[in-house]
Amino acid sequence: VRRARARYQRVLAAAANDPALQEVLRTYQDDIQAGHDAEARGIAGWDAWRDQVAVVREHTVAHLDYYLEQFARQVERHGGQVSFAADAAEACRIVGDVAADAGAGLVVKSKSMVSEEVGLNRALQARGMEVAETDLGEYILQLADERPAHIVGPALHKSLQDVTELFSKEAGRRLNSEPDELAAFARQALREKFLAADVGISGCNFGVASTGAVVLVTSEGNGRMATSLPRTHIVLMGLERLVPDWQSLDSLLTVLPRAGVGGAITTYVSGITGPRRAGDADGPERLHVVVLDNGRADLLGGPYESMLHCIRCGACLDFCPVFRHVGGHSYGPVYSGPMGAVLTPLLLGLEEWADLPYLCSLCGACEEVCSARIPLTRLILSLRRDAVEAGLVPLEWRLGMQAFAAVTERPRAYGAALRGAGRAVDALTRHEIKPPDAILRPWTASRELPLPARRPFGDWWAGRQALGCPGPEGRP
């Protein structure tokens, strides 16, 4: 735990002291918040739409056993195959086996956070396959050998200059810092991969249980290519990504793009039901859906079940004042922002990630914008409680909080402590004594230390009353 904390504080400090990153984060949040607000104002009944997302997600997760079984049967009825993976290692093994069976030398991927969660790229590379990320943001990160910093805009922390450097290196020639020219280079480079790939891997925004359709919400077209051109299409999805039927998607597809990218819809929304049919001129011959548990089923019926309602719109990241300062990489391996601060400890273990629920000021902005009305601050507080009970917070915090509680629960002790602190500050100031830095530093390094008043407010108030001074609204 200590090692994890030290590493984590280094990451946080680096982010907070990186002026370029701070500028990028400010600009991105200001822009996306404006887009989000404009789209929310642009459709009748925005809050009612979000209420309906919450209703659909809650219903689906409450009956997830039924819908998952139905979904799997429908995928199979349409000629697809379905496998279930208990954890990251099993998911990688199954995907690797299916890809190897398809003779994959080259695999093209469209953006999938679940594939990041299980570390799929490295697992496939270890089996000798070339893996090409084709979402422009993911392609940038693959060239930079970095992790996504945002669940919707994975490379938003990369500046135009960064991308120019990366693409120029890949191209072997100097490219201009023109977004269109850089995009044209990526299009050409990745087009060759698409046409040569044996296997396409995608995530799944939503699975329609009644028909077995996999629904993908994308903007660039790489998702359509990865699921249309290679002979084998593998879908990797979290087991909670379902909706009962197409109509249930209405609220989700209405809210997701508006909350996620500040647009009424993304360029492409695809529904894929099984492999190509007899007589179809194109499309994959084989479709294999890998359903990942990785700790999700454990959340069902428990205090954290509502985290499974998340539709991955990213709005909580876009409005989080902490994310604005620390950026996505500060939240660990995959999921970031408020949803990551909850989900990562739940999926990957509180022991290793006990610090994440503390990356939060409890301001509630995330809850205010959450598309599925998830009570994120309540979940964050609950995780903090779990961390304390499991002894995962530093000893000095625990002792400090216990002392604080002991004093504040007793009015006499509280008054005495305030008077004592006031007198102590007075004495220290008078004798120009500075407390050793080591004592105050852990607190003052990142916060103000408010000095206690020389005379506590309670004492001052009691004195006024004793003298018969008027109280509030002139009453004695």
Partner: protein
């Protein structure tokens, strides 16, 4: 992990009886559904323009075909990708086979959604997925009678489709775009960056 093992664990955690639940139903605000066909068509054209597509209304299918030929002439596009049943005699000899090398794809939309400037296509059979995907420019033919107000209308039809849906249904709303490079919007990153829509008023 065995499927049954996982489902059993889920049932236990959820204290589930395993019965078929009734999905929650909801009626979106009525003002989102436009009763007037002229208003639906006007909104569709407006939204498509906002997305950066070239959208126009034509009187008849012949006029749409003439518009396609005129565009091909202006751009010196010698070949076209198009499902055989949509082609007409004067383009029939210009149909290409390798979409990766073709400049233009033309397909007919099943529906269009006014609110979002969306065309809904159902590739399958002779209608290839790649026709609307690989060429740098794509055109969609939309019949006026198939313009719906919004997503809700088409999703209800999907649930009601008696024979089920084809393997691939796609909602396309304007040109392919990305803002992943320095937060600047680029068009045509993977899919077509140029989109034309012809709405046939008489159909």
């Amino acid at each position: 992990v065995k499927r049954e093992q996982l489902l059993t664990q889920m049932r236990r955690n959820l204290k589930s009886s395993g019965g078929a639940p009734a999905p929650p139903r909801w009626t979106p605000p009525g003002e989102l559904f436009i009763q007037d066909a002229d208003a639906r068509q006007a909104l569709l054209i407006d939204r498509l323009a906002g997305l950066g597509a070239n959208a126009r209304v034509v009187d008849s299918r012949q006029e749409a075909q003439a518009a396609v030929e005129q565009l091909m002439g202006e751009r010196a596009w010698r070949q076209i990708s198009c499902p055989a049943d949509l082609a007409w005699p004067s383009v029939a000899d210009r149909l290409g086979q390798d979409e990766a090398l073709l400049p233009f794809g033309l397909v007919e939309a099943e529906w269009a959604l006014a609110e979002t400037g969306t065309v809904v296509i159902l590739p399958g059979g002779r209608h290839k997925r790649v026709t609307s995907l690989l060429p740098p420019a794509v055109g969609f033919i939309v019949r006026r009678s198939r313009i719906l107000s919004r997503l809700t209308d088409v999703l209800v039809r999907f649930d009601a489709a008696s024979g089920g849906l084809p393997a691939n249904v796609v909602f396309v709303s304007g040109p392919s775009r990305s803002a992943d490079i320095g937060s600047v919007v680029c068009r045509g990153v993977h899919g077509p960056g140029e989109v034309h829509v012809w709405v046939i008023e008489s159909e």
